[in-house]
């Protein structure tokens, strides 16, 4: 359950429980290697710059495109990376 120390949300259809206060880019690493998107030539990509510049960590949060490195993990949010499509 939700507590002050942890938050729970859905990542690519799976429930995830992480320490409160961590960024979504940090949380992606729970499923190593923590990919965020598939590039135009089909490569899996993970967060690179960590500071909102490179756009490699862009994901859908509740249907809106957001940078995972600039998004705090919050209770109840739904995150889709598109990197696990076809696997689930």
């Amino acid at each position: 359950m939700t507590s002050a120390t942890h938050v729970e949300f859905t990542l690519d259809g799976q429930a995830l429980r992480v320490p409160a206060g961590i960024s979504l880019a940090a949380a992606l690493a729970v499923h190593r290697p923590g990919c965020a998107r598939i590039s135009v030539s089909g490569e899996a990509r993970a967060p690179l710059c960590g500071m909102g510049i490179c756009q490699e960590c862009r994901v859908l949060v509740d249907g809106k495109r957001r940078l995972a490195c600039q998004t705090l993990c919050q209770d109840g949010m739904t995150v889709d990376t598109g990197t696990r499509a076809g696997q689930t």
């Binding site: 880019a25 290697p33 690179l48 710059c49 960590g50 756009q55 495109r65």
Partner: protein
């Protein structure tokens, strides 16, 4: 569109809540002006004072943040980015929920710097990050306990990243600095002139630190499994889970350029916003401070921010009192840039099939066929993806000598609703 929500007004708008932006806000606050500070990150502090569950902020950073928070006339809005310029005194902003037009009387740009990320074989593999990038991700909670990490590139940031990674429980196997041992030692010897920087000299005793060592490639199938380094002509392979690579910093000039601010033209250096003695840009009413005016470190950013904040509220004489301190840190910045200058041999780092533009997946081989940026964009869409050339533009300047493309709106990917709101507001907002 809801005009009450979509239009906002402030006397002094500051872009960036790092050391420069916070110092500017604090210096300008006694004027009583209504001040708004925006930043696209989760918390104030910029990159050097990035907050997070695994961050330990220095006392100076906490004091500055608390002092700004106590100013009733200063509002700090994090998670807010600039999308575009709307007329002479307004910017289109967006946060996680909505977009709006922010009007201002005066503007201070404290947009900081980003890491210079140079392409090398394997750099698109998951597990490769920037060096400052790794530090930022760890502070934000990235778990690295027990991981083997190699840090490579150039500049003091490599050591800072190594310290952060070790504190988080990682095993930093190697810190590879491309500058020669002679240059690194000469830099360290100068540090006693800046006592607050002397601690950095001590960390140079890091047993995993190697000067004159260059990155060759990261290897792995789905993610990083090893890295190759070269020192004095000998190549060695280190098995690791992560490679963090950064080659110094590049000023973030995009917003300034979009506003029409001139760039400084110092030989060979990265483009920076041009400012006068009062930190004023070439555009009346717009000031700039910190790394976006040239990379110089947090102390330099703090004093520049103070000067800009005072100048923006017409406290010219008070601003002048800080000129000697600014000059002192400018000398430090000069040394840093001189001793960690990039070896031209790093231009041989990418192979023909190495991607240079990670947004549009354009290879080094394809770009070497192009005559310049215009040609590259026409033939390959290089630099036209989501990052708008922020990564490949700086890399191409180093690799091919191409002047980075002039930024165009939107500055970062925006939601349609924000852009439509802009169109709806534009007619009545025009002066």
């Amino acid at each position: 569109m809801n005009s009450e929500r979509d239009v906002s007004n402030t006397e002094l708008l500051i872009i960036g809540a790092g050391p420069a932006g916070l110092a500017a806000a604090l210096a300008a606050a006694p004027s009583g002006a209504h001040i708004t500070v925006i930043d696209d990150n989760i918390a104030p502090g910029g990159q050097i004072w990035r907050d997070g569950p695994a961050a330990a902020l220095p006392a100076q950073a906490l004091r500055l943040r608390e002092s700004v928070a106590r100013c009733a006339n200063v509002r700090v809005r994090c998670g807010t980015r600039v999308i575009s310029v709307v007329g002479a005194n307004a910017l289109l902003l967006e946060d996680a929920e909505h977009g709006w037009t922010q009007h201002f009387t005066r503007l201070i740009l404290c947009t900081g710097a980003r890491e210079l990320l140079l392409p090398f074989p394997g750099w698109t593999l998951p597990g490769v990050t920037g060096a400052g990038g790794l530090q930022a991700l760890i502070k934000a909670g990235l778990p690295v306990r027990g991981e083997r990490i190699v840090i490579a590139g150039s500049g003091p940031l490599l050591l800072a990243a190594a310290a952060t990674a070790r504190k988080a429980g990682a095993r930093v196997l190697r810190v590879a600095e491309q500058a020669s041992l002679g240059n690194v030692a000469a830099f360290a010897a100068q540090l006693r002139r800046w006592p607050s920087k002397a601690m950095q000299a001590l960390t140079l005793a890091d047993p995993s630190y190697r000067a004159g060592t260059q990155l060759v490639a990261a290897q792995g199938r789905q993610q990083v499994e090893s890295v190759q380094l070269r020192q004095m002509g000998r190549t060695s392979t280190i098995v690791c889970e992560r490679v963090a690579s950064g080659f110094g910093l590049v000023p973030n000039t995009q917003l300034g350029q979009l506003l029409g601010c001139a760039l400084s033209t110092s030989k060979g250096a990265a483009q920076a916003l041009k400012v006068d003695a009062l930190q004023a840009t070439s555009v009346p009413g717009i000031f700039a401070a910190g790394e976006c005016t040239g990379v110089g470190g947090a102390e330099s950013a703090l004093v520049q921010g103070r000067i800009a904040g005072l100048a923006a509220v017409n406290e010219t004489r008070a601003a002048q009192a800080f000129w000697p301190e600014r000059a002192r840190w400018k000398t430090f910045a000069g040394l840093l840039n001189h001793h960690f200058a990039l070896d031209p041999a790093l231009r041989q780092l990418p192979q023909a099939d190495t991607l240079v533009c990670r947004c549009e997946d354009v290879t080094h081989g394809a770009l070497t066929q192009c005559g310049g940026w215009m040609d590259a964009k026409l033939h390959s869409r290089c630099g036209m993806g989501a990052c708008q050339g922020r990564v490949c533009g700086a890399a191409a300047q180093f690799l091919y000598g191409w002047t980075p493309p002039v930024p165009r709106p939107p500055l970062s990917p925006a939601r349609i609703a924000t852009l439509l709101g802009d169109l709806a507001d534009a007619p009545k907002d025009k002066p």
